[in-house]
Amino acid sequence: MRIKHFSGTSILALRWGFTLLLLTLVPQAGAQSSGAQSLVGRRAPEFVRRDLTGHNLDLARLHGKVVLLNFWATWCAPCQVEMPMFAHWQEQYGPQKLAVIGISMDDDSGPVRRMIHAQRIDYPVAMGDATLGKRYGGVLGLPLTFLIDRNEIVRAKFQGETDPGKIEASLRSLLATH
């Protein structure tokens, strides 16, 4: 019965309102994604670091592998939830050529060494700095994880607390491609 009360003018007004709402929202979503996702689809910035065990960590030498690059810090609570999971994935998906790399954004390496020992993190971890952070678009919030395909192209970026299932689904789809 109520439907009959809508006149043609009201429906037209509703349509215009909805269109205007879409026009307002779409550019905002675009602006957010263009800033936050700027590295996605581009070649991962190369870097060479010495990891905490003294080995060279050269991203270019991981060509052919899927790389999970995780920026973290000892004071970042959500990071500490993710890291044991990443260690488990390294073990689970290692045979499919997954390479997990941790980059600590701590100011000094002492607490980092203690934490990776306590958490039994066995994938390579190196210390980051402002230069590396800027190369990856500014690491201005943690955790921050990039998925890089076998051809060194960044395919996904996850900022902040993220559903692990979401990261794993992206990871598995990258591992499935050769």
Partner: protein, 194 residues
Amino acid sequence: MKPMDRYDNDQLKSNSLRIKVSAHDLLDILVSEPHMRIRSIATMGSVAVIAFLLIQSPAHAQSALPPAATTIPSTQLIQPEELKTMLNSTRSVQPLILQVGSRVMFDQAHIPTSEYAGPGSREGGLNLLRGRVKTLAKNRFIVLYCGCCPWNRCPNVGGAYKFLSDLDFTNVKVLYIAENFGSDWVSKGYPVAH
């Protein structure tokens, strides 16, 4: 009758019988049986060591965690938009802006005129903060910020705010950063220094 006459060694090893041994019996054993005394002292020593290790464990250390950002009174928060307007204004009293988070993050991007004052969750950071404010008037307008993590996960601002409050600073505000400095300040096009 000596206690050991009542309980042979095998029986004493049985848990059910051990429960039945009274405190009086145990004292008797300690006095009358030197080898049992040594064993008991060793046991008590082990208990003391375990208790000490438990006290030092991370689970216990959690009680000494810095105050969470959520403990800061809402009246002492300042929104990013408000601070940005304040920075652009020539009439407003300009606050001393202190970043109390990570040095690596500060070096990547920070609020213009802000100074790095050390992480509020670490003793070293608080010492740095103490040094920075020691000559300031207690009513100096200070804005603290971090932005390393989502607000309710930030380990730094709560500790830094409490530290200044304990030093009797009366005009301290904390920048409310909901997600992180990148999303809530830089991405919004607010002024940034590198």
